[in-house]
Symmetry: C2
Subunit: 589 residues, 2 copies
């Protein structure tokens, strides 16, 4: 139901309605937007700080410009809630039964005021320059506006974008939303110079934007809607690219968010009155902690570890490492390419780098993995998290990591099946010196079990149960699914062999070769997209033989917030479905 | 034989010998190095301009610093010939029988003065910061020096590197070798501001390096060895990061190279006296020209094409497009990530972007291909060149493109088998609006033949010859190899079916499914690494059936300048080997 039928926002169907508002009404709508951001995030979780900081900029944009004739591109788009409320989608925030009808990122299928599905950082300038040049080439008109935050500016593509924007000579407005996202964490680098610009009202020398050849203006109070309206009116229709450096306050209007900007960038459901979590903190075991505990032991034993993250410490809880071992911790900002090549340099000169990365963001460093890490064979250790079939947004689809990493020479991509194996692999990876090792952190709850080996120089698949006729190979966290499928087959008297393949990138051909003698069907299970993944490598091995292979994993497709149960059902990833498919093949042999 | 037994270089076995040289001798050695660079490149081809420009910097480095205790990292390392001559490898330049004993890029297996196999740009700062932090963490000493050119500075990772260097607080010297590589091509952006720095003796405001938080010094005459010695003595042992902006002249000492810096960046064998080519220009047909001719027709017919390159116009001869259709051409500098996302923006707003990229450099834009291009399904058209098994340096290995691109949803990765099919695919790609299309430019000489279709919305494999028992699927430029293998099998009375699969990313399952009825063996041929590639997709399709599949392509391994004939033999890529392998499987059915 509509929780706020009295709100002015109910009467705003689109930008035309924003233009009719008085200054007082603009202030009222700003308050309403802030309340709705907090209320919705409190109920279902979401990005909070970025949306609270950008309210006035968004109101001013729709007051001054004429969307969608004038076009606005949101970097990452995690700050687009106010934009959505002002472009016909307020219902997704007013009505708690419709919270899920409006997605949290921009989406061109949802509104003509949105242009891209986007969830990774630092892309907005490139997209906006492209739109601007297309406008010129096709003789269209209208302003093109990009909005990018300071957190995203450290990403190489954003800087490539500034250089190319500086070479362009038509209308382009880059709103640099400086909410000092990184201020607590960063000393030196570009962020000190941005501070100098803020403190000098934009007058300090060594201006990064001007150094890229761009025109520049500073707006000290980006949370004053009248100031923002004047600022945008001043640049509307400008015939060359300009950066509007807008100083805003992240989390403005919600006290807990102002007190801890990092914690409130994104937040899970909370109680509005004090910001406390709705769900009690879990004290269950988790793989992150198991990894960090092992690294702590190694650091205390004198290993020259360097723990590296590219601006996602929260994903792994790396604040703990930073606090206890600051000399062994480095957050390189949003700079995934740099993180891998930097790790290679650390390894070359005798340190032991341990890089933590999310599957979806690791895609940004693919060439660095190949050209710097793999070709050069330095012993960089990487932990990949969230490599799995998931119910995430399609912008963060995380099941491509096997195709990305298992096909690169010289890398061992290990897939532990339980906590003990994970620790054994990590210990080995940190002592060996022959190659880069990537460890796929298992998804889901922690399981315990035997380790497959203590050294992994030679990959030896672990035959956990020797059966016959059918062999099930369960990779990493899908080993448990293999056990369940084997139990299902046992009900029909089929005694399936059960194998932990240990590595996603190296096949133990000796063990697999023996299956040809007394097995008719081999089953592969991978928590990943199958195209280019583990199962296809097994297929190639058995392709010239009489053995039939059945692969289970995700199809090659994007999925946008599809419930996991639905995906598992679609991909036949339940023990019953697997057993049924296996029996069908057996019957037709 | 040693062509210059009289050269002082014969007495330089390493950096210790450089330190003994008088100023006059340093000048003499500089002259010798220049002569040898020109002489070797004239004989076998190689990087010329970058090596001629860096001679004095290199001499000064080895005069002032103590390599390998002090370490120098060369960006791309295409300017490392002088370094190699001064670190015990002058024989590879003095003795024309040993030209191939010294590789053209840095190589840690070749010398303790080299640290990485490197051939892609913009990595040196990341590597150097890593080495510096590892030095600190492991309580080593010595200076860390990175050398990076202005051409590489536009790459996002270099800029990420500057930001992270600016955050570091120990010894690090970044030599910014500004030889105005891009000066002819570039207006605006960072390069205008670098010009302002040169013209103001380093005093101009809006200094990119200072904006990244770095200390900075300008050296106007980087080709004066005494100046460079003093400059490096001044910063040796410095306790914080500093950028030495060194102004040098690319191609210094060879008149033709000074007259056309771009043409002499790398050069094939030439006559020293006038710089003319040894090999006469070929007037044979080539696929680049066929593509450019088609694009020219489309532009003249009014299509809003935008031809994009990320600083490799020479690979495709795009200067022709730039000259004839300047409004339809954009070189975005070394900025591969940007190029893809920018193309997506162009497509969104109604232009028709055509991106040209080398297989090996395209790796830099993997996430942009997935997150911006594929997920958003805009009709960006990309031409990928050199996707093939090759005799290149391992730094430029180019056979990973099928694993990189064929596993991404929503993309059609087309593999034409001849000129007519290439044009048909390009024409279709530029009129359809449903998805990004990538076209794999065939390697080798142009062939002609029938087209498989005029539209490629639905992939329909082309059964070129209907046989039985054995089916050969030859992808793209390996279709011809399939024909040859079929001819070989015909000698033994085997009438193989011959199929052009059209796409590397989409299987025509209807056509493949029919093979199950009357074929025992399916053969796949791909000019690529097989791991994650085309053949494995075919394997997965047939895995649950009785059909045996044999895959032919490259193994998952790096190869460093291995002759193509040797690779083909190793991978069984000759018609005779293929036929023999097929017959062996048939015999054991």
């Amino acid at each position: 139901m509509n929780l706020h039928p009295d709100y002015l926002l109910n009467q705003i169907q689109g930008p035309a309605d924003v233009k009719k508002l008085s200054v007082d009404q603009l202030h009222q709508v700003a308050d309403e937007i802030r309340h709705l951001v907090v209320e919705k995030d409190a109920a279902i979780g979401g990005h909070l700080g970025p949306n609270l900081g950008i309210v006035e900029t968004t109101l001013a944009f729709h007051y001054v410009f004429d969307s969608p004739h004038d076009k606005i591109v949101w970097d990452i788009s995690h700050q687009s809630y106010p934009h959505k409320m002002l472009t016909g989608r307020a219902y997704g925030f007013l009505d708690n039964e419709r919270y899920h009808d409006v997605t949290p990122y921009s989406n061109q299928d949802e509104s003509p005021h949105d242009y891209y599905r986007v969830g990774h950082t630092s892309t907005s300038i490139a997209l906006a320059v492209g739109m601007a040049k297309a406008r010129d080439l096709t003789k269209q008109s209208g302003n093109i506006v990009a909005v990018i935050g300071d957190g995203s500016l450290s990403g190489g593509m954003a800087l490539e974008g500034l250089n190319n924007a500086g070479k362009y000579d038509g209308n382009l407005i880059i709103i640099f939303n400086d909410n000092q996202m990184s201020i607590d964490d960063v000393n030196g680098g570009m962020f000190d110079q941005l501070t100098a610009l803020r403190e000098s009202n934009g007058e300090a020398p060594n201006n990064l934007f001007k150094a890229m050849g761009l025109d520049y203006k500073y707006i000290a109070d980006g949370n004053d809607v009248e100031t923002m309206i004047h600022a945008l009116e001043d640049v509307k229709g400008i015939a060359h690219p300009i950066v509007l450096h807008v100083n805003t306050v992240k989390g403005l209007g919600y006290a807990p968010a102002l007190a801890d900007e990092e914690a409130w960038h994104w937040h899970s459901p909370f109680k509005i009155e004090d910001g406390s979590d709705v769900a009690p903190a879990s004290d269950a075991e988790n793989y992150d902690q198991i990894i960090k505990d092992e690294l702590g032991r190694q650091i205390e034993a004198g290993q020259p570890l360097m723990v590296i993250t590219a601006a996602v410490p929260g994903v792994f809880g790396l604040g703990e490492i930073k606090a206890k071992y600051p000399a062994h911790y480095d957050d390189v900002d949003i700079a995934e390419q740099y993180s891998v090549t930097y790790a290679t340099g650390l390894a070359e000169n005798g340190a032991r780098p341990v890089l933590f990365q999310n599957s979806t963001f690791f895609q940004r460093a693919y060439d660095q993995v190949i050209h710097d890490m793999a070709l050069n064979r330095y012993p960089v250790v990487t932990i990949v998290k969230n490599g799995r079939i998931s119910d995430d947004s399609s912008t963060h689809q995380s099941d491509f990591d096997l195709a990305m990493l298992s096909n690169v020479p010289n890398i061992e991509y290990l897939a532990p099946t339980n906590a003990e194996e994970l620790v054994a692999m990590l210990q080995w990876a940190l002592t060996q010196t022959e190659k880069p090792v990537i460890i796929r952190e298992p998804a889901g709850e922690v399981t315990h079990g035997p380790i497959s080996a203590t050294a992994f120089n030679q990959i030896k698949a672990q035959v956990v149960h020797q059966g016959k006729e059918v062999a099930i190979i369960g990779l990493g966290d899908f080993f448990a699914l293999g056990q369940a499928a084997a139990a299902e087959l046992a009900k029909d008297g089929i005694d399936a062999t059960l194998i932990n393949p240990v590595s996603a990138s190296t096949l133990d051909e000796a063990t697999l070769g023996q299956l040809v003698n007394d097995h008719q069907v081999v089953v592969t299970l991978e928590n990943a997209s199958m195209s280019g993944g583990f199962g296809e490598h097994v297929d190639r091995f058995f392709a010239p033989t009489k053995v039939r292979v059945l692969n289970f994993g995700a199809a090659k497709e994007f999925n946008d917030v599809v419930p996991l149960a639905e995906l598992y059902d679609r991909y036949h990833l339940t023990p019953t479905q697997i057993a049924t498919d296996v029996k069908a093949v057996l019957k037709n042999l």
